[in-house]
Structures are given as C-alpha cells and as structure tokens.
Amino acid sequence: MDEQSDEAIVLLVQGGDLSAFKTLIDRYDSKMMRYAKRFLFGYDDAQDALQEIFIKAYRNIKSFDTRRRFSPWLYRIAHNEFINIIKKKGREPLSFFDPDTIFPHPISTHFADTEIKEKELREFLEKSLDKLPVKYREPIVLFYFEEMDYKQIATIMQIPISTVGIRIRRGKILLQKIHDNNLHI
C-alpha cells in the first residue's frame, strides 16, 4: 500500500478499509503537526487539532472526489480546524471580510533568493511567526515551510491566487519592519 497514491488509498478507505486510513494518517500526521505548530504558534492545541483533522477527514471521506488531489483537501480541513480554534480562543482578530480579495493584484512572484538568504529568511520567519497576523502567517507557513505554490495555497485558503501573493509580500514587509525595529532597540 506504501507505493499507492493518496487518492488510490482514499478509494480503499471509502470502501471501508480501515488499515488504508491508518496509512493515510501515517503519511500525513507529521506534515499536519508541522503545519499546526506553525499556524497555531503560541497555542497549545496542536495535538488536539491534529486528531480532529483526521476524524473530520474520515467522517467526510466520501465527499472526496478521487480524481482530485488528496493533499489540498486535507490541508483545507486543517485550515478550517485551525481557524475555528483561533476564533474560539479569541486572542487574534479574524476578519470575516478581507479587502485584499476584492480587486485583482499583479501576481507578485517569489524570486528565489540565494540559498543563504533563503535559509536566513526561514530561520527568521520561524522565530517571528507569532508576530504576524493570521492572514499573513498562514500563506507564509504554507509557502516557506510546506513548500506549496500559490495555486495550492489559494485552493486551501479559498482566496484568489493574486491575494496569496499580496499576503506573502505584505507579511514579509511586516516582518522586515519588525526585524529593523529589533535592530534599532
């Protein structure tokens, strides 16, 4: 089963194969945990959220169309779960409506920085994620740590692709400001 695609395994789960679902959990638990820990930075709910993600995935597995990719579907469930946790805790503001999604923006492509710069950036991002608002934190986590492209991020967050670009760019500018302020203190 290890060599089968996620989608082929889902087909088995839909048919009632529990061991196939275990394979899916084993494939994704570390990825989901990594995503949870970074998205829910500073929250203690990552472990519970992880369990809830897989339970919801199992409950709704028959809604999954095996002609599509499984990974964005699972990440979408995770996204919803994390947003619910943040809403429940009420520690961070979450706006129902984001003006960034109204108008088209030129897609700001990510220019590959040099490896050292990229490494520095990731290290700095890792340390500063809690300083970013949720709407910038999530695309940055998905882009830099889950290594997804804009299209995948847009599907998971259900926002336009151009908005993904603008949020990543603004998030980085915000982090740059935080970084500069820290240097001046």
């Binding site: 679902f21 369990q51 923006h105 599907t155 336009p160």
Partner: protein
Amino acid sequence: MSESERKDNPNHLSEDILTAIKKGAVEMRPKWHFILKIALLITGTVLAILTLLFIASFIFFSLRQNGSWFVSDFGLKGWEAFIFSLPWILLIVTAIFIIIVGLLVKNYSFAFGRPLIYSALGIIGFTGLLGFLISLTPFHSSLLIEAENEHLSFAGPIYRQYGHRNLGNIVTGRIIGINGNSFGLYSQNEEILTIIITPLTVVPRSGINVSEVVVVLGEREGNVVEALGIKPLTGYSGMRSPTMPPRR
C-alpha cells in the same frame, strides 16, 4: 502507559482514531449526505438567481410601465425626474440578493479563485442584461393584468403598487383629444388630465395624435400638467382607454 507517554508515542494518533472508529464513536457520513448538501446548495443558488432576475426585470418593467425610463430624453430635468422615480426599496432588495448570490457563488471554485470584483461585476452584468431582456417579454405585463384582475395572489400587491405608481411629474397615458396647445390624456392611473404645451415643451418631431400612448414630464397642479416634454411610446402594451371598465 501514562498520558504523556502515550502522547509521545508516534503511533498513538492513528491508534486513538482507529479505536474510536472501531467503537463506532466516529462514523463515515454516507455519500447521499454530501449529494444532498450539494443539491441544496445548487437549488439555493438557482432560486436566489431566479429571484434576483425576477426583481431586476420587474424594476426595468415598472420603469418602462410608469414612463420614467423614457424621461431622461428631456435633459437635466428628465434625469432628475428619473432618479427620483427609481423604486429604491426594490433596488435595495436587489442589492441584498446580489450579495446573497455572491455569497452562494463563493462556494464554487470558479468564484473564490478570482477577485471578488469579478464575481460582483459578473453577477451585476448578468442580472442587468438578462433582467432587461426579460422586461421586454410579455412576462411581467401578463402578470400585471392578472394582478389587476386580482387573480395573482403571489406578488399581486407589488404589481399593483409598482405597475401603476403615481410619480407626480411623470404621467403616461393615451391621448383622447387635442385642442390647440393642449390635449386630454387618459392616464394609466385612470385619470383624465389636461396637458398644456408651452413654447418650452419638448414635443416629438412627428407631432402627437389622438389614441397615441405618450409619456409626459411636467409640473402638475390638480388635473392640469404643464408639459416640459412629451414622448410617444411605441409598442407600449397594456395601456388602458376610457372605454375599458375601471380596474378593481
């Protein structure tokens, strides 16, 4: 195994979940549950779009029916009269339905993947164009006749209210007689009005004729209207004549 030890065990997550599934605490939702959900979403979206088209086309119809659609030809005063004659409540209801349709459409991947302005403009453009085309069909005029005869329980009051609005300075009606610089008009609100033509009145080049249906913009005092502009309404259906029995 203690709780912390159990949590540190990398297999505990799948074990916990599989145990819960085996015990029946977590169940897979059947396929029909999702089919029903999608069917409800599609039905809701279609109903909202149909309602939106109905209201939008009715707005166009009522503007034409009451003559206000045509008065913008009479310059600034005409535009002023047009804006004041707009059915604002219906326009607000339309705006609400545009938002509802927008929120429903957002559930579909073709909508959320694009900036909101595109969906909004798409919905507004689609509603405007299709609403206008529907307003040109006999759909609303036949419903108005049904409403006048009190055969239309659904939306009857709306048709009676907006189908024959008293707009003050905009009157539509049939010319029943011409006398020098004035003519008699049997209005669609079943009043007989005297229309005065002054040197400033914008009159049609072809002149006016008895039995013609016209829209008149002008200052009204009692049953006398000093016309600022007169425009014949060709192809206008449903206009009443004095020989017809009054509406119920």
